[in-house]
């Protein structure tokens, strides 16, 4: 079995954008996860709904909404284009944005699940020992929630690797630029390149398997 250069490009692009998305979304994921798991505030249900919405919306719908927002005539896109002269849609950054929106709920869910296992009493104990809320977060909440956090991160990363619907709406399917593994499979199927389809499907399956297996290893006691 010989992997073509185009397939390697699609694979590395997938991994790059998924990693970049994870790095960018991890800090806000921690913040939102902490808010949802540990804080009571007005509008909590609304925040939770907004964060989780991409999980239940058809990805194509999420992608379409992003397209409207980010295009040259969209709310955010117009601003970016006029002020910085940059256009996001149909660029690798659009891929990052699309997969970030789709995988964020999974990342946050893992983080919330992890943080909810940390007893508030333990955090209160840390406060009485002189720790500021920030110190409590980094020395008690984070280390004790690490299984859930790693689980959420790997699950979100895996989701990013395979994202299709939102990506194709905002970023298109441009080989070498925005064509990720999932899009490459779609193209190969359309063009009837069966050998390529098999290779890509095998690679995708192996990557997904390893990711899930790692999650289980980290989260199972």
């Amino acid at each position: 079995m010989r992997i073509t250069a185009a397939e390697v490009t699609a694979l590395t692009l997938s991994i790059k954008v998924a990693l970049l998305s994870l790095i960018v979304m991890f800090p806000p994921g921690l913040l939102v996860g902490w808010l949802l798991a540990k804080r009571a505030f007005p509008g909590k249900a609304l925040l939770n709904t907004l964060v989780m919405l991409p999980l239940v919306l058809p990805p194509v719908v999420s992608g379409y909404l992003l397209l409207i927002l980010l295009s040259k005539h969209g709310l955010i896109g117009a601003f970016l284009f006029q002020v910085f002269g940059i256009e996001f849609v149909f660029s690798p950054f659009a891929v990052v944005i699309a997969i970030s929106v789709i995988s964020f709920p999974l990342l946050v869910r893992g983080i919330v699940a992890g943080m909810e296992t940390v007893p508030a009493a333990l955090e209160n104990a840390a406060r009485t020992l002189g720790a500021s809320p920030a110190k409590v977060f980094f020395t008690v909440t984070l280390p004790l929630a690490y299984r859930g956090i790693i689980g959420g991160a790997i699950l979100g990363f895996s989701k990013s690797l395979g994202e299709f619907g939102a990506t194709i709406m905002v970023a298109g399917n441009i080989p070498g630029k925005t064509q990720t593994m999932a899009l490459a499979i779609f193209s190969a199927v359309q063009l009837g390149e069966d050998a390529s389809v098999y290779r890509l499907v095998l690679i995708s399956t192996v990557v997904a398997f390893v990711a899930l297996w790692l999650t289980e290893r980290f989260t199972l006691r």
């Binding site: 209160n124 009485t128 004790l144």
Partner: protein, 381 residues
């Protein structure tokens, strides 16, 4: 100096020791409502160890949460000396990390991901990290030097509580808050930890607020006690007086020890392994303790551990047969509660209705209370 004067001055020193360090007064005057429950406090703590005694649901935990700052009262003020920790009128509510109140939780709440050493270091002031003499003293007094590299789950219940106390002390607290620190331990372990608490009391110049439902712990440690019931203070005073008074009976029964007697040592004989306590002209024999003659020893005896006999000379092994007279008989559910006066000391005895009928017990009748030495719990270490 005459002997009397010497005795006097040591007495004064002992009194001083019981008064709080630097005469710091802690005033609690606040209200907190939680659902249908309301805690309403107005008191001043002036002694080194103050016990709040109450059943579960009486507001003990709410009190500690409000004091430590993990829960905000609805209104009122909390002051530690001159410092206001909370004052609703002024909008002051100091966060817990600024209060420096060492909190010892019933469940310990050690950090499971940190070793004992790291747990103890957690609250230590940063500038002290390089000169841990005080920590060395803490480790020494609580005997945990050998446990430092272990994780909390590798500790026994008693070790865990000792580490929890050490962690609270190592932060060099302004005050120690203890929330039923012995409640999760069995009675044998309790008796082993109480001496550590005594050492802590003597060695550190820190006021202690001790919350418990166990009269024995309050008696063993506290200089002053408050009874808490439904969120209100119902009585307060010197623990021995407060808790041996007839008015404390409902609490005593609530906490499962009906008889609390504070009796002076008449004789202590190490070779025979016994100590005799005076109860009027009679004696109560207990296992040997090293105590001076005349020292008052608080003891607790459960009402069901006393056997009633109509005759004094029984062929039995129990060492204590006290003569008394029945003052009251009360049917309490399945049992009869007898109140027996033994030379001015009141003993509550729980027997079955059947026994009461067979012995034909009546008010004013002379009876003998038979007590096994093992049934007498010392509230002193």
């Amino acid at each position: 100096m005459t002997a009397a004067a010497a005795a006097d001055s040591t007495g004064a020193a002992a009194d001083l020791n019981d008064v709080m360090a630097n005469n710091i007064k802690i005033s609690l005057n606040f209200r907190k409502r939680l659902g249908s429950f309301a805690l309403n406090l107005n008191c001043t703590l002036e002694k080194k160890v103050t016990a709040f005694l109450g059943a579960s649901g009486s507001g003990k935990s709410t009190l500690l949460s409000c004091l430590s700052g993990t829960l905000s009262p609805d209104e009122g003020a909390i002051a530690f000396g001159d410092e206001l920790l909370y004052a609703s009128a002024l909008g002051i509510d100091m966060p817990p990390e600024k209060r420096r109140f060492g909190y010892v939780f019933q469940e310990g709440y050690l950090f499971p991901h940190l070793t004992v050493a790291q747990n103890i270091r957690y609250g230590q002031p940063r500038y002290r990290r390089k000169t841990p003499e005080s920590t060395a003293q803490v480790l020494d007094i609580l005997e945990i030097s050998a446990l430092l590299q272990r994780y909390p789950k590798q500790l026994s219940g008693g070790e865990r509580q000792r580490v929890a106390i050490a962690r609270a002390l190592a932060m060099e607290p302004q005050m120690l808050l203890m929330d039923e620190p012995l409640a999760s331990l069995d009675s044998e372990l309790k008796n082993r930890i109480i001496p550590y608490l005594h050492h802590v009391k003597d060695a550190f110049d820190v006021p202690i607020l001790y919350v418990t439902h166990a009269i024995s712990e309050a008696m063993a440690l506290a200089d002053e006690a408050f009874l808490l019931s439904n969120g209100e203070i119902t009585a307060s005073g010197e623990p021995h007086q407060l808790l041996t008074a007839p008015s404390a009976m409902p609490i005593a029964q609530l906490t499962g020890v009906e008889n609390i007697l504070s009796l002076p040592v008449a004789e202590s004989d190490k070779s025979r392994g016994v100590t005799e306590l005076e109860i009027g002209s009679q004696y109560l024999v207990i296992p040997y303790i090293a105590a001076n003659i005349g020292k008052a020893i608080p003891t607790a005896i459960r009402a069901e551990d006393i056997i009633i006999s109509l005759e004094p000379n029984l062929p039995i092994s129990a060492r204590n047969i006290l003569k008394g007279a029945i003052d009251e008989l009360d049917a309490v559910g399945e049992r009869t509660m007898l109140s027996i006066l033994v030379e001015g000391h009141r003993l509550s005895v729980k027997i079955t209705h059947e026994a009461r009928e067979q012995l034909q017990l009546r008010k004013g009748m002379e009876v003998y209370c038979v007590i096994k030495a093992n049934a007498i719990n010392l509230l002193w270490n």
